[in-house]
């Protein structure tokens, strides 16, 4: 409530009525003691300062201040950023490291025995091959992993962004226009929700691939990637859409929206300036939940053999070969496995921290 008044009148100064500004500052001051931050804890704005400076602390900066105090949250954010950085810089890292993910080092240099298992113990880990060599083909595991993370993260990030944007748009349309549009879009989202997700992914990835290339031709890698993004996006937007719709439905009846409408703001302006700032925290939290789920879904598809096709490196494909060789070379599987475990744990904790920072009322 305070936040919305602040949004409508204070920070964005939609109306410059003196009395309202005074009201904003008084509400701001009233909220101050309940805020978890100690007075004057992080920046120069303490409780004893003038009203104009207090208005300068937007909900966003309050959340950021709260987040900065959460050590676990920061550690997880750093971990997640490290993964994203590794994904982006994979070619550079591989160049510095001096290997590439397609070269069959094990076979060329005779590092594998006649069953295709690395000769050296622990999956062939040594100073030359930090994470060992892959059984059978003998590719370098370290470069395979960083390139695999790159493929998987790229696909999942794309899926997350597209689904969140679509979900927000559809939710906005539903909540803002309601009536028939809301009803039909709602039933459509119900229908999409009742598809068995994994089966849908498995069955429709080849169908979408077949849309782009004839089954007789060799398919380029990017077609697979586009197909995977599309197929996961088709079933990915509904949850965000529902949440946004529910929020918009309750927001549009609130006083500050009415005030904006009375002051002659257009629909577009109301959506952009009044509604969107109030839903972005929900959207952000949902996005942090979606991304790791999308990563594991994508890896799962590749593991099943219907996602990214070899020899393109992919996180899920590493588990596929890991599962076929785990009895003779268990070390191999641990590198992608532990990496994914760290990634998902970090992301889950980060999601909790982001939620806590954005909504201090939630108790865990």
């Amino acid at each position: 409530m305070f936040r919305s008044i602040n949004d409508a009148f204070g920070r964005r100064s939609t109306l410059s009525v003196r009395g309202l500004c005074a009201m904003t500052s008084s509400t701001q001051a009233a909220t101050e003691p309940t805020d978890p931050l100690p007075p004057g804890g992080d920046s120069g704005t303490g409780t004893g300062l003038t009203a104009t400076e207090l208005i300068g602390r937007s909900p966003g900066s309050l959340a950021w201040a709260r987040f900065k105090r959460d050590r676990v949250g920061i550690a997880c954010a750093v971990t997640v950023l490290a993964f994203i950085l590794i994904a982006f810089a994979a070619p550079l890292i591989a160049k510095l490291y001096g290997k590439d993910p397609y070269q069959l080092y094990g076979q060329d240099r005779g590092l594998l025995n006649s069953y295709g298992i690395p000769l050296k113990p622990n999956g062939g880990v040594d100073g030359d091959f930090w994470f060992g060599v892959e059984p059978n083909l003998g590719r370098d595991v370290f470069t395979l992993l960083i390139y695999g993370i790159r493929t998987s993260l790229f696909i999942s990030l794309a899926v997350t962004v597209v689904s969140v944007v679509t979900g927000v748009l559809i939710g906005l349309v539903q909540g803002y226009l309601h009536g028939k549009v809301d009803y039909f879009l709602g039933r459509f989202s119900d229908l999409m929700l009742s598809f068995p997700q994994q089966l849908f992914f498995i069955a429709f990835t080849p169908v979408i691939v077949a849309l782009f290339v004839s089954p007789r031709d060799e398919e380029p890698t990017y077609v697979r990637i586009v197909a995977l993004i599309l197929v996961q996006f088709l079933l990915g937007w509904m949850v965000v859409g529902r949440l946004v719709r529910a929020q918009v439905l309750s927001l549009r009846e609130r006083e500050f929206i009415e005030a904006a409408r009375l002051s002659g703001a257009s629909n577009w302006r109301i959506i952009r300036k009044e509604i969107l700032p109030n839903i972005w925290s929900t959207v952000l939290v949902q996005a942090t939940l979606l991304l790791p789920a999308n990563v594991t879904a994508e890896a799962g598809l590749s593991f099943l053999g219907v996602g990214i096709q070899p020899p393109t490196p992919d996180w899920g494909l590493l588990f596929q070969s890991g599962a076929s060789y785990f009895e003779s070379d268990v070390t191999f599987m641990f590198f992608p496995g532990i990496a994914m475990l760290i990634f998902v744990v970090a992301f889950n904790l980060l999601g909790d921290s982001v939620r806590d920072a954005l909504d201090p009322k939630t108790v865990r």
Binding site: A203, T205, G305, V306, A323
Partner: protein
């Protein structure tokens, strides 16, 4: 109750009809030529013509769909032979009746789903209850850390580790196999125990977290305070009043998770090399066996939609404030 059931069943029928129509359209119309797709990479024109005739692809798409749907309920005569009542056609890959393959494979998936769900509901809700009871104490912390870990592992990673550890090294459990129920009843139970356990690991953490916070929330409600004020023991209030309130929400979450359980069962089957509907659907896709894929998709959707109705009924049963009408 009856009215609710009829209305929900009608709704389910509409949803399933739409799903079947969309899937049929995407499978048999959108790809440039399903006959070519079914024929694989090396295929001569005669084969394509034969497949086209067998599929009835010379008819318009809605006629094909009509024949397909009628076939499910009434059976149909196909060029390959007669196809009795639940007719999903003949497989492209091995020319067998799709329904026979499915009825051969579904027990594994069903037992995985039911067994896994039984384990994760018991363990998850149980852990959540103890954590809420022991709020803030050591057990609570250990359980919440374990939940975080359980929520973040993948079946295809812990499955092989569990096989190595529990069956190869310690020889505690079978490594996962699914003989036919009639031929080896004991083997089909022990063979599915480890897969069910692994499947449940990725789910129970969510339930323990949710149950814990729901119970904590419930314990601060007015009716709980009233019950305590009447002199009931805290254990009685906890198990009789608060648990009932929390269960309603847990059941809703279960309803949402049904599709994920099916998805988890698919990955579990492939990880443990079991022969269920999941590995069947993967196989079907890899061989472009459209009738088989179509059937698995429809059956999967039917199971989930029907289970959701059951979940809603259970919800009304537990929470008397919900009236089914």
């Amino acid at each position: 109750m009856l009215r609710f059931l009829v209305r929900r069943l009608l709704g389910a029928a509409v949803i399933l009809l739409l799903i079947s129509a969309i899937t049929y359209f995407l499978f048999f119309f959108l790809p440039s030529d399903p006959a070519l797709l079914s024929c694989g990479k090396n295929c001569d024109p005669q084969n394509v013509a034969l497949i086209r005739k067998n599929l009835g692809l010379d008819h318009p798409i809605w006629v094909q769909y009509w024949h397909f749907m009628v076939g499910i309920f009434a059976g149909r005569d196909m060029p390959v032979g007669h196809c009795p009542a639940p007719c999903f056609g003949y497989s492209f890959a091995d020319q067998q009746l799709v329904w026979n393959t499915i009825s051969d494979r579904y027990p594994t998936t069903l037992s995985l789903g039911v067994g896994g769900a039984a384990i994760f509901l018991t363990v998850g809700v149980g852990l959540g209850l103890i954590s809420a009871w022991q709020q803030g104490k050591l057990f609570d912390r250990v359980a919440s850390a374990a939940s975080l870990l359980g929520q973040s592992v993948q079946i295809y990673f812990i499955g092989p580790i569990a096989i190595l550890l529990l069956s190869t090294k310690l020889d505690l459990l079978d490594r996962g196999h699914d003989p036919h129920w009639t031929s080896d009843p004991a083997g089909s139970v022990s063979g599915l125990l480890l897969p069910c356990l692994i499947l449940s690991v990725i789910f129970w953490s969510n339930y323990s977290r949710q149950t814990r916070s729901l119970m904590v929330e419930q314990m601060s409600e007015d009716h709980i305070r009233a019950a305590r004020a009447k002199g009931m023991t805290s254990r009685y209030v906890f198990l009789r009043y608060a648990l009932r309130g929390a269960m309603a929400t847990v059941i809703t979450i279960f309803g949402v998770d049904l599709s994920a359980v099916l998805g988890g069962a698919i990955i579990t089957e492939v990880t443990f090399g079991l022969h269920g509907l999941g590995s069947l659907s993967v196989q079907a896709v890899l061989r472009s066996d459209l009738p088989l894929e179509m059937a698995v998709m429809l059956i999967g959707a039917t199971i989930i939609v029907l289970c959701n109705i059951v979940v809603d009924m259970a919800y009304a049963f537990i929470d008397p404030r919900i009236r089914l009408s």
